[in-house]
């Protein structure tokens, strides 16, 4: 690399560098200045510094938008990746604020630093189109998340979840790497653009098929799509609330974006066709299959859950199915729809976990524990109402427009209505999902609180996160143009 490209590297990765440096700063501060301070103070300071870092990085992204790339597509920074990074940072801030009242750990600095490291990894993941860098960032992200999952040392569930996550994750990383190595072997290049040229020449190559299946399996694990979802219920239930919120929200955003980029940019030539009656082999039918499985299994299994966290996990699997529809379509409009969907989905999820974190002191987890929430804390219950209805896709909340946008993009394919079967399945499953979300809300609003239940005190920081996410969901639902505008402008930029 020449000197100028080092400068280019610094310029392009400035937001990531800020976040990473903040993480180190948080660590150092916690170990030096704040060593003797009370735990609450340490945690609060760590969160504050971390948030300031994220905000600085956000400002950097918004005010000095950089564009460009490095050789071999190791970094590809476009307005769209900037937008996704803004979302990732905002979600990280939300999660950090939720953490600020946590009491399960004495390692305040490490916890916040890990959240920041995970965020750095995600930011790098969305801004690369190079197989090696993708793999490294995914591993970086996963390692941070494993530790975050197992961070509650007093809790057996947390350790179990961490181990389960790690074992599944390790295996899927191996599979992913094997798939990538095959792709490299086939094309002799790590950059997706170059791979794409090779793929287009011989889309039916059996080795390529194997590579695609393996890459898909590796990513399927990250996005918790059936049948690679086994870890999700355990992790959602066992992990500390903040960690679970991070895994459920921003990690999903980054993974979905990267997945789309890999298949859209790198493997476009071997897409095949999942349209009804016009099937041809490739990854699109394969993903359609995974989407079908995820929608069915996630939504149907969620009905049987009694734990709210496990229910959210299964509903996340179902949502992964809806989002995979956008990948089956693989048009530019479907990418816009996916970005809108995944961002609003992540917002609602962070909100839902925020509600759970407010109830954490009471160790509330089963649906029955939510009885009378509307009386005990009207504000909390109202926020929960908004989050769950947005997840269910009820207008005028953001989740509805996300679904609408994805469905519109799905029906607008080369063969008219080729993917109608997927859309109809998704619609049927969204009716199912409405049932289990409403089950929670029924407890909150209809059932009477158990005797002796008192009003709930919600920490200030959590309250801010709840109101901010709820407001955003209503706002983006009523005026979807706000976000769609930015996505569309970023997507069609320079094309």
């Amino acid at each position: 690399m020449t000197g100028s490209s080092y400068f280019e590297l610094l310029r392009l990765t400035a937001p990531e560098i800020i976040v990473a440096l903040t993480a180190l700063l948080v660590l150092v501060l916690d170990l030096s200045v704040l060593r003797q301070a009370a735990l609450a103070t340490r945690l609060r300071c760590a969160v504050m510094v971390a948030c300031i870092g994220c905000v600085l990085s956000l400002l950097m992204l918004e005010n000095f938008p950089a564009q460009g790339g490095l050789p071999e597509a190791m970094l590809v920074v476009t307005p769209l990746t900037q937008l996704v990074k803004v979302a990732l940072l905002a979600l990280a801030i939300g999660v950090l604020l939720l953490v600020s009242s946590a009491r399960f750990t004495t390692h305040a600095g490490e916890y916040c630093a890990l959240i920041l490291f995970a965020t750095t990894a995600m930011m790098l993941l969305v801004s690369t189109q190079n197989l090696l860098v993708i793999f490294i960032t995914i591993e970086f992200l996963s390692l941070s998340l494993y530790v975050l999952t197992a961070f509650d040392k007093q809790s057996q569930a947390s350790a179990e979840a961490g181990l389960k996550y790690f074992l599944f994750g390790g295996m899927s990383a191996g599979i992913l790497l094997f798939g990538m190595s095959l792709l490299y072997g086939l094309s002799g290049s790590l950059a997706l653009e170059a791979i794409s040229a090779t793929v287009s020449r011989a889309p039916g190559d059996p080795l390529l098929t194997l590579a695609m299946v393996m890459v898909l399996a590796g990513f399927g694990f990250k996005i918790a799509a059936a049948p690679f979802h086994m870890w999700a219920p355990e992790v959602y239930q066992g992990a500390p609330t903040g960690s679970a919120a991070l895994i459920a929200s921003s990690s999903k955003v980054a993974s979905f974006f990267a997945l789309f980029v890999v298949f859209y940019v790198g493997l476009m030539g071997a897409a095949g066709n999942a349209a009804w009656g016009n099937y041809s082999a490739g990854w699109a039918p394969l993903i359609a299959l995974i989407a079908t499985l995820s929608m069915l299994w996630g939504n149907l299994a969620a009905i049987a859950q009694t734990s709210v966290r496990r229910l959210l996990a299964y509903s996340a699997i179902g949502h992964a199915g809806y989002m995979l529809i956008a990948l089956v379509v693989h048009s530019r409009q479907s990418l816009a729809a996916l970005v809108y969907y995944v961002i609003t989905y992540a917002l609602a999820t962070v909100g839902a976990f925020g509600v759970l974190s407010a109830l954490e002191d009471e160790k509330l987890d089963s649906i029955a524990d939510f009885a009378g929430l509307g009386k005990r804390s009207p504000a909390l219950a109202f926020c929960l109402l908004i989050f769950l209805l947005s997840l269910a896709g009820v207008p005028p909340l953001a989740g509805f427009f996300g679904k609408f946008y994805v469905f519109v993009s799905a029906l607008r394919t080369a063969e008219p209505f080729g993917l109608l079967w997927l859309v109809l399945l998704a619609l049927a499953m969204s009716v199912v999902s409405f049932y289990y979300y409403l089950k929670i809300l029924k407890q909150a609003y209809v059932s009477e609180p158990s005797t002796g239940a008192m009003a709930i005190r919600v920490p200030m920081a959590t309250r801010i996160v709840l109101w901010a996410t709820a407001t955003l969901l209503v706002l983006l639902g009523c005026l979807p143009g706000l976000l769609v505008n930015r996505i569309v402008a970023a997507l069609w930029f320079g094309k």
Binding site: F404, V408, K442, P480
Partner: protein
């Protein structure tokens, strides 16, 4: 006309205002809700009086909403919308008058009630399909809580059943809506524009039944009606009045405004026969007639008074659907007239059954009621119920007569034998009305030593007068509505329907 939009805004603002009233003074919440509903009704009536009678669409608001997708915030009204808006206003006011005695969680009750009202106004006034759908779905959530929190018999089951049926129906509508949007080139969801868009026939052939069934679920079409009786029976009085009176009309309105207006050629003959059916028109007409007879027959054997009224709603909504399927002017206008008429009459019946009788006697079992000499204890309720039943079975002088007569004439020219079957349905209707009336108010009265029941209150009287007055006025002077309905049906919006399959 510009104020029409305020029916929606006022209702939502009223809901917010109600939640802000002091918790210790439930009267304030009641009065706020009543004033809001009255204001809505006032606006609706003024708009209807000044409404355009030439069949043109009057735009209230039209502004870009999601410009990237060509979706607009477009409120407008034609004659059909106007009369349904008036109906909503009347039902809203009456419902609040009849729930004056709600004591538990008063604020929540009226807030949810007003949200539901606002959403219903929104559906009737939306002329962008996306917007219409948004309001249509907003209406679902308050229904659930109104029934699940304040309801009676198996309320949680009934509430869940109702919203799942509604949501499933709206999922079908959404599928049709997205498909229509994509086929029409992804530029607009404006109903006026789509009504003139020439959708391919084979597309209309499958889009029509999907959307029609989606809306008809909410209109109580057999065999998707089962949510209606359980839901109506479980709901608190005001909610049953709204459910039967207005929410079922949302479904019927959607059938007419969306399914039939956008995809009229879906009603054309298929060109082949399956089980003797040659077109969707015949399929849905038969389902409507089955609904009429089936609803009436089931009502004949119910033990629970509210279920009697609930099944009678299914039967009467069958007339709306039958009228729509006649595809001739008199049948369609009869269907729209029946929407209004049944909205008033069903509201009245549920008010008597739920508020005047059940809240006082705490039973709806016909056998137990027959032991209480209710006619003597509650003469006002008895008279109201007799009049309501007379209106319900379609005696001349009441609005139901005008409506069902038109539907029958229309269906006589479209499919004569179905007309006869529907006539049998009316006869059964007389039977079950007679039976319910007899058992409830004019029973043997063995229990002579009955404790005095609380007298009928002023709000109840007002509500009853409002509803009775409406049905009688419209029974005696149908031109009030017909002048609004006919030009709209002959207007440019239904041009494709008239050109294609109108007979």
């Amino acid at each position: 006309m510009a104020m029409l939009a305020w029916t929606i805004y006022l209702s939502f603002l009223g809901a917010v205002a109600v939640t802000l009233t002091p918790a210790r003074r439930p009267a304030v919440a009641r009065v706020t809700a009543l004033l809001t509903a009255l204001a809505g009704l006032g606006i609706a009536i003024v708009a209807a009086v000044h409404g355009d009678r030439s069949g043109q669409l009057t735009t209230v608001v039209q502004t870009p909403w999601i410009p990237q997708l060509g979706i607009e915030y477009h409120l407008a009204a034609d004659g059909i919308s106007l009369i349904l808006v008036v109906l909503t206003g009347i039902a809203a006011v009456a419902g609040i008058l009849f729930s004056w005695n709600v004591e538990r969680r008063v604020k929540d009750f009226f807030a949810l009630y007003l949200v539901l009202i606002g959403a219903v106004y929104g559906v009737f006034l939306s002329f962008d399909l996306f917007l219409l759908f948004v309001f249509y779905e907003i209406a679902i959530i308050p229904k659930y809580f109104l029934i699940a929190i304040w309801g009676s018999t198996r309320r949680e089951y009934a509430a869940m059943k109702l919203v799942l049926y509604s949501f499933a129906g709206s999922a079908l509508v959404l599928a049709g809506m997205v498909a229509a949007y994509v086929v029409a080139g992804q530029r607009t969801l404006n109903l006026e524009a789509l009504a003139h868009y020439p959708f391919p026939v084979h597309f209309q052939m499958w889009a029509f039944p999907v959307v029609f069934v989606g809306f008809a679920v909410l209109a109580g079409m057999w065999p998707f009606h089962t949510w209606a009786p359980t839901g109506h029976a479980a709901a608190p009085t005001a909610a049953s009045m709204l459910l039967a009176g207005v929410v079922m009309k949302l479904g019927a309105y959607g059938c007419l405004r969306v399914a039939m207006m956008l995809f009229p050629r879906g009603l054309e003959p298929w060109g082949f026969h399956v089980l003797g059916f040659g077109s969707w028109q015949q399929v849905f007409a038969v389902l409507a007639v089955i609904g009429i007879v089936y609803g009436a027959s089931i009502a004949l054997v119910q033990k629970d008074l509210k279920f009697v009224v609930g099944y009678s709603s299914v039967s009467h909504m069958g007339f709306v659907l039958l009228g729509l399927m006649t595809l001739n002017q008199i049948g369609l206008s009869g269907a729209v007239y029946q929407m209004f008429s049944h909205g008033i009459i069903a509201g009245l019946l549920f008010a008597v059954v739920g508020r005047m009788v059940y809240d006082r006697t705490h039973t709806r079992d016909l056998r137990e009621l027959s032991r209480i000499p209710l006619a003597r204890l509650l003469p006002f309720a008895a008279v109201t119920f007799v009049l309501a039943m007379m209106a319900s079975i379609g005696l001349p002088g009441f609005s139901g007569f005008i409506a069902e007569l038109q539907v029958l004439i229309g269906s006589w020219s479209a499919f004569p034998w179905m007309s006869c079957v529907a006539g049998v349905g009316i006869l059964i209707g007389i039977a079950f009305s007679w039976r319910a009336l007899q058992a409830t108010f004019f029973g043997e009265g063995e229990k002579t030593a009955t404790e005095a029941l609380p007298p009928i209150t002023m709000p109840e009287r007002l509500g009853a007068f409002l509803l009775l007055g409406s049905t009688v006025v419209l029974g005696l002077y149908p031109r009030l509505l017909m002048d609004l309905i006919m030009p709209s049906l002959n207007g440019p919006l239904f041009e494709q329907l008239r050109r294609g399959v109108w007979r």
